[in-house]
Amino acid sequence: MTIDLFLFLVLALVSIGTALGMLLSRNAVYSALFLVLNLGAVAIFFLLLGAPFIAMAQITVYAGAIMVLFLFVIMLLGTEEIPGMQNWKKFIIPAVLAGALILESIYLLTSASRPLGLIANPSESVNTAQAMRDLGELLFDQYLLPFEVTSILLLVAMVGAIVLSKPEKAGK
């Protein structure tokens, strides 16, 4: 077992564990915290896979902004605890389906007619400034239009959020 594989397995366990924790915890705040941990684990995966920028963006945007917003809303509304699963029978079908999906995926992937290949240790390329530069150039050259469209989407979302959360004026 190489150190890469070891690292992968540990992180995979952590991420699956935290995902399950998110799924199963009764308290929404704990769910959010588990998700933050999960996001962090995935960010480390990104680092390992040679995407440091995305990893940092993941932490900054997801962990730093989105999840904080979640926490904020949870605390603001005081809705930490909504009873989750009293009636286990109702969840048999989804659970069976989920199990089937996972098994199917694993079977699909392992029985593929040709292997999908290995991921080389990318840590050499992580630390070169060139990768960042390439990413930036790709983003602002080939993907400029999607980038701009995304910015418009963000603008629209911002306006929408402001409109939605604006206090209604008295008398209306």
Partner: protein, 390 residues
């Protein structure tokens, strides 16, 4: 894995941690002394010469105090929150360079823990997760004051992070790199604070909000929330919060120094002199570069910036909370967008025309102008609000 390399990292990490811990202790002393002087008092002066042993006395007191956990608190989170606050404030220092490469014991040693090419984004991500500790502390205390403090801080820090991140962008643009070492080296000729004074100002303001210092100390506004998110904390847990706050002060000062004030580089007027970081000294026949000047310069700058923070605390009243948010979204954010735009335009003009003047004169002039416009608008809107209420 090279054991020597691991050892080197270990040593460097320990140096940083101890520097920060010691720095924390003496920043409290520094602040109390400076604050006292500004208020025409004397400040701590009993323990040791000039009260220099006062931090140790404080530490002892806090360690031996009883720790209380309020009933109904979420114990695990309540316990983890101070740690979650402290950790980011320490690990953020990993990418801040405090010197250059030194040859020592026969090997090249970098005077920084890591020079990753996404150093600046690392800073951003770590500052962005620093909010968790405070929010969770507020929530886990199961107390209204603490809760409100936590919520306030969540909103405040998320808001001001945007301006902070955008001023980072200005520094990235000017330094043409995301590596902090490159950015520092790019400031050999001009500090970025000279090229982009507005950006530096916004950075300093936003960091004040990020570390919850006056006049942005909303989460712990005493008159309103007793002590905010750490109302229910006591003993060593409280000490950890305290520690985190002062370490954050040090760290953001280091960030400010690195991004806008030349980092470990010498002051510009010392360039090409014997006191330059690049200078070669000749002592008793041995030639060596003056690498040890670099941490010294960084230290001087950090002390200066810390004084700035203390000074602000001593002179400025606290913002009202809605004004604080309005200021963050309606003034800081547009201004920092303008900063990015102006900087990028200046760089583009410099590249296309080949005139350095665009960068050295045009960008500062336009930035200052924009800043003044913002000041005028803020002033007028304040007066308008005043008249509306009167």
């Amino acid at each position: 894995m090279d054991w020597a390399l691991a050892l080197e990292w270990l040593v460097k990490s320990l140096v940083i941690i101890f520097a920060l811990l010691g720095g924390f202790a003496y920043t409290t002393w520094y602040e109390r002394r400076a604050l006292a002087r500004l208020q025409v008092r004397v400040g701590p002066n009993r323990a040791g010469p000039f009260g220099l042993l006062q931090p140790i006395a404080d530490a002892l007191k806090l360690i031996f105090k009883e720790e209380l956990t309020p009933p109904g608190a979420f114990k695990l989170v309540f316990f983890l929150a101070p740690i979650m606050t402290l950790v980011p404030s320490i690990i953020i220092a990993a990418v801040i360079p405090w010197g250059r490469t030194v040859t020592m014991f026969g090997r090249e040693i970098n005077l920084y823990l890591a020079d990753v090419n996404v150093g600046i984004i690392y800073l951003m991500s770590v500052t962005s997760i620093a909010v968790y500790g405070i929010v969770l502390a507020g929530w886990a205390s199961n107390s209204k004051y603490a809760m409100l403090g936590g919520l306030r801080s969540a909103a405040q820090m998320v808001s001001y992070e945007l301006s902070l991140g955008l001023t980072f962008v200005a520094a990235i643009l000017l330094g043409n790199s995301m590596s902090l070492v490159d950015i520092v080296e790019a400031q050999t000729t001009y500090w970025f604070a000279l090229i982009q004074p507005l950006g530096a100002l916004i950075f300093l303001t936003a960091t004040l909000a990020e570390v919850n210092r006056a006049p942005f100390d909303m989460p712990e506004a005493e008159q309103e929330l007793t002590a905010g998110f750490h109302t229910e904390y006591s003993g060593m847990k409280f000490a950890l919060f305290f520690m985190a706050e002062y370490q954050k002060m040090i760290v953001v000062s280091m960030m400010a120094a690195t991004l806008f004030f030349g980092g470990y580089r010498e002051f510009w007027f010392l360039r090409d002199t014997l006191l330059s970081v690049d200078a070669t000294w000749l002592i008793s026949g041995h030639q060596f570069t003056a690498w040890f000047l670099a941490p010294l310069y960084l230290f001087i700058k950090v002390v200066g910036l810390l004084f700035l923070m203390i000074w602000v605390r001593a002179t400025w009243p606290r913002f009202r909370y809605d004004r604080l948010m309005a200021f963050g979204w309606k003034v800081m954010l547009p201004l920092s967008l303008a900063v990015v735009f102006i900087t990028a335009t200046g760089i583009l003009l410099e590249i296309t025309t080949g005139q350095v003047m665009w960068l050295t004169v045009g960008v500062p002039a336009v930035s200052i102008f924009v800043g003044l416009i913002a000041v005028v608008f803020v002033y007028r809107s304040l007066w308008r609000k005043y008249y509306e209420t009167v």
